[in-house]
Structures are given as structure tokens and as C-alpha cells.
Symmetry: C2
Subunit: 330 residues, 2 copies
């Protein structure tokens, strides 16, 4: 049995167009659990439809996946050779302007929510806005509510000031599920030291990300990526680093335009966004074993690799999601 | 015929619970036109319902009011002894995250929209947030779209930085429909000189407001209010000042809790908000003649009073709303 086969691999984020074949790619890559995006710009009603589609997919493929609701489901999935799918939002748009929607979507199984997606919203600033006013009054209400019900706060696409405010405001550890340090690749999507350090100081985890626009594109080598991960382990400790691949399997070109522009600005047909090219050594979740090999080659211990490849997400998910029995029903 | 009866009175904003009796109060007070709020926290679907109720009210009371779509409708209403109702938003929440909704609601008759209501939203910062990051990327798209279709931008409940950004970004004059200068009464709802000056420099109008929490409450005298209006005329010129009463007729106590807290934070039943008391000399739109008398007593000329009581709103509404024929259909 290879090292990779022994690991419990947890992916901090994927935003694929989910079907049985896409889920089989995860199983082929030895991925046991994933934070699967089910809303980006969607409002509450659109998100209900998206969750309904997930319920159907899970009902039709019980041999392959189940919808997970707490950290211990990851071990169950590993034992049963299934995928534990944690439903997650990449935006707080499904909450709309009603804090009660946090508990509502928690009851429907949502366990992760990013506070903002690129743009400013009712809760705070997004990473691609020029300015960020920090966590709003409503944002503080939502953070408190997410803490109460046991929903993990994600800061990957969140602005600088709102990220720092949310780390300070949350009484539970928070996550950056899919970003890299700013020194590795300079983009507003990656994170400076003074966001990562307070996050890890409070028990949070940052998932190093393979998406080309935050990791360097198709010419990224496995050595370069794994050296960055190793250095992150050196800087912030082996308990603070994970992987968030940000895999985007199964989509047409139109979907990247939706991610970029939503409905908030017109897409110029002459300059419609297209998907970036991934590095040849990692084009999807089936390539996860190469990441384990790369981390070994970079000199990390097997224990440390186990933590980075899934153990840290498992611990964080458990500590945030397992609150009272009351909130564990789906 | 009294001076007041000769005037064309335009009220920059009312947020009443509209019925025939409430509209008859306007006619009794000699009010010819009003920016009538039809959305505060509502999303697109809720706002459609609100506009539908206005269509029904207008259809049932054609002797009393009509839904106005451009500035010249104000003269028509004066001639016909009717009320020209301009539908307005106090928030951009009906636009949701889709800039196309600006034209959609314009086609349904909406002619005024405040960019934010107290809180931060997708477009910018609200006056009661601690920080304001200014007009967002989506906010700039919406301002451009409002300029294009001919919808008046209102900054009354908008934050400082977003207000200044919107004044600079808009190619048409903008309004503060219902706020006072900060020096008159110190509240985040009132406006500093460095917001009012650039607004009037670009042809905008500020409506001095009688709502108790921005004007001083039930002990406000007609002399004090009219002296403030006169001083505003001295400071910014007779073409820049209007009246925005912010009348709130016909509501129960629950509605003030909705205005204050929306769905974004719980209302503490032990400290539920209640309506403030209005000064005895101005308790509703039927008291508008007292305002004309007070402005006369404060020494303003009849021409200046005509401008402040309605002429300036008429000119601004015309200059902003009367774009191409294409956009004037309801």
C-alpha cells in the first residue's frame, strides 16, 4: 500500500460540475472528503435548487458519496471507500439579508461559507475591490450565527480588512480553503502574512491552491508547489496547512464568465473569459497521488504529509462543525 | 390666493403607508408631486409586488393621483389638481446583483433610487456603518446604468465616501432627497459640507428634512427649521435647496422596527423601536402651508420660496429623467 493510499485525503475546495464521472475522478485520486461549492452568486431560492440537485445526486449514487455534516463523517467515508461531500458556499449571497438563513442552510447540510466572493457584499469587502471597509454590522451578526450553528467561515476570496476582522470576531477557528501566500504568487486572491498568522494563531487552516491564476499557471512545477507547501509548514507549523485544489471539472467556457462577472457587469463577447490551463502534472483530482509524491520528495515527513493532505482539515471540520446535537441534523 | 396655493410643491421623499386618505392629506397640504418610497429592504420580487400595489392604487384613484415618469408631469399634475407620484427606492436591494434590473425597474416607472440604506450593500457603504469603502465596482456599473436610463441617484442614507464617489462618478446631477446639514443636527444621517458642496457644484439638490431624528425631534420650532433652510440658501444658492419631509403616515409601530432592523439583526422585543414624535406645527403633509409661511417669515423672497418648495426638484427631475423617448414609457 502506497503512502497516498494510507492517507485520508481531504480537499479544501472544489467547484466542479458534479456528476458521477467527476466524483469517480475523486475516488481514482484517493480523495475521501471535499468541500464542494454549491453557490457562488446564487440567492436563497437558486441555492435551494442547487442543494436539491445534490440531494438527488447523493440519492442516486449511495455507493460513491454521501452528504457529510460533521468531521467524523470523514473517517466513515474512508472506511466505506466513499466520498464525504461537505456542501459549501463561496459567497454569502444565499443568506441574502436575513441572518436566519444561516441556520436554515445549516439544516440543509451546508457546512462552509465564504463571507464574500471577489466583490463587496452585505457582510464585507471582496478581494478584488479597490477598498475594503471591513466586516459590517450585518457581517458580525452572521459570523456570530455561523459560530453558533457550526458553519466554517472561509476567507479565500475575502478582502484584507474583512479577513482580519472576521478572524478576530469569530470565536471558532476559520479557514482559507483555497489560496496561496502572497509571496508565492502576487494576486489579490492570495494572502499576506498578517492575515495568515492571526488565522493560524487562532487554530485556523490555509489550503494551498492549485488553480492556475493563484499558483502560477500551466508552467507551475510540482517541485515549486511542494516547496511552497513545505515552506508554509516551516513558517506556520504542520497543523496549519492543507490543500484546496479548486478543481473545476466538467464545465463549459461559459461558466468561467459567470464566475468572473456574475450578473454584476456585462461580459464583453470579444473578451469573454476562458478557463486557464492547469499544469500537466495536476489537471484534476485524479492527480492527487502526484501531490503526495511531490511532498515526500520535498522532504516532509509522512506524518506531516498526512496532516497537510487531510488531517488538518479533518481536525478543523470537527472542531467547528461538531457543536450540539441540535444542529447536526440535515 | 395665498402664496402657498400659487406654488408647485414637490416633496423630495415620503415613506407613508399609501392609501386614499393619506394621499388626500397631500392634496390638503397643497403637495403636487412626491418621491414615494416603494422599497427599503425589499428584493426584486417583493418590489414587483409593491409596484403592483401602486398600479392598483393609481387605477382606483385617477381623480387624485397618477404615476409620473418625467419632470413635466409635475406641471400637468398642478394643472389637473392631482398628485404626481414618482416611485422611488430607498435602497438598491431591488436591483439585487443584476445591473439589468435598473432598466427593468425604470420601465416599471421607478425614477429615484438611493444607493444604500443605512447598511453596506453591493454598491457601497451606508451612513450607519463604521467604515465606508466607497463606491464598489458594481456600484460604478449601476451609477452608469442609472445615468443612461434617467433614474435619479439619491444619497440620503448613503455613507460619506460612497456619497463623494457617486457625485464624482455620475454624469448627471444627483440628489440628497431627505437630509439636513450636519451642523444643524449631528447624526450620521446628516451631511457634511464636503458632500453638499460637490453635489451642488454639479447641479444637485439637497432636501431639508423634517423627520424628527434628523431635525431635532418634537421640540423643533418652525423658526429654527426655516432659519436653517435660509442659511442653506445663503451657503449653497437658491437653486440647490429643496424639502424632503420624510413623512411616515399610516404605519403601525412594527414598521419602524422593519426600517431599523430589516432582517439583518434580531429586534429585541424589550427594546423595540417606536416612531419618534413630530413637532406640533408639522405632523404630516397637510402642514406644508405652515412651512411656506415659516420660510416667508424667515425673510426668503417669494421666488426663492417657490424654488425651495418645489421648483428645484422639478428642474432636477426634468434634467435627470427626461433622456430619450425610448426610456419614458412605463
Amino acid at each position: 500500500m502506497t503512502l497516498h493510499e494510507q492517507l485520508t485525503v481531504v480537499d479544501g475546495l472544489q467547484i466542479s460540475n458534479w456528476t458521477r464521472p467527476v466524483l469517480e475522478e475523486l475516488r481514482a485520486g484517493g480523495v475521501t472528503a471535499v468541500n464542494a461549492t454549491c453557490a457562488v452568486w446564487e440567492n436563497a431560492a437558486d441555492t435551494l435548487r442547487s442543494i436539491g440537485q445534490w440531494l438527488e445526486l447523493a440519492n442516486r449514487n449511495p455507493d460513491l458519496l454521501f452528504l457529510a455534516t460533521n468531521g467524523s463523517d470523514i473517517d466513515t467515508a474512508k472506511r466505506q471507500k466513499k466520498i464525504a461531500v461537505f456542501l459549501g458556499f463561496q459567497n454569502s449571497s444565499p443568506f441574502e439579508d436575513d441572518y436566519r438563513n444561516v441556520e436554515l442552510f445549516h439544516r440543509l447540510g451546508v457546512r462552509v461559507a465564504q463571507l464574500t466572493y471577489n466583490n463587496q457584499n452585505l457582510l464585507g469587502g471582496g478581494c478584488f475591490e479597490t477598498n475594503d471597509a471591513g466586516l459590517t454590522r450585518y457581517g458580525r451578526v452572521v459570523v456570530e450565527e455561523m459560530n453558533r450553528v457550526g458553519m466554517l467561515i472561509d476567507l479565500s476570496h475575502v478582502g484584507y480588512r474583512t479577513s482580519r476582522d472576521a478572524i478576530a470576531a469569530s470565536c471558532r477557528p476559520v479557514a482559507i480553503t483555497h489560496s496561496n501566500p502572497l509571496w508565492f504568487f502576487d494576486t489579490p486572491r492570495n494572502k499576506p502574512h498578517d492575515v495568515i498568522q492571526p488565522l493560524v494563531d487562532r487554530g485556523g487552516v490555509i489550503g494551498c491552491c492549485l488553480y492556475p491564476t493563484v499558483s502560477g499557471g500551466e508552467h507551475l512545477t510540482v517541485e515549486s508547489f511542494c516547496t511552497m507547501v513545505s515552506r508554509m509548514v516551516d513558517l506556520y507549523g504542520p497543523d496549519s496547512i492543507g490543500i484546496g485544489s479548486d478543481c473545476t471539472r466538467g464545465w463549459d467556457q461559459e461558466f468561467v464568465g459567470w464566475l468572473r462577472n456574475g450578473r454584476w457587469q456585462p461580459t464583453d463577447p470579444a473578451h469573454a473569459p476562458t478557463w486557464p490551463n492547469w499544469p500537466k502534472w495536476f489537471t484534476g483530482p485524479h492527480d492527487f497521488p502526484r501531490l503526495t509524491d511531490g511532498l515526500s520528495a520535498s522532504g516532509l515527513s509522512d506524518d506531516c504529509i498526512a496532516a497537510v493532505m487531510g488531517g488538518n482539515w479533518s481536525r478543523l471540520f470537527t472542531s467547528v462543525m461538531d457543536t450540539t446535537r441540535e444542529h447536526q441534523n440535515v
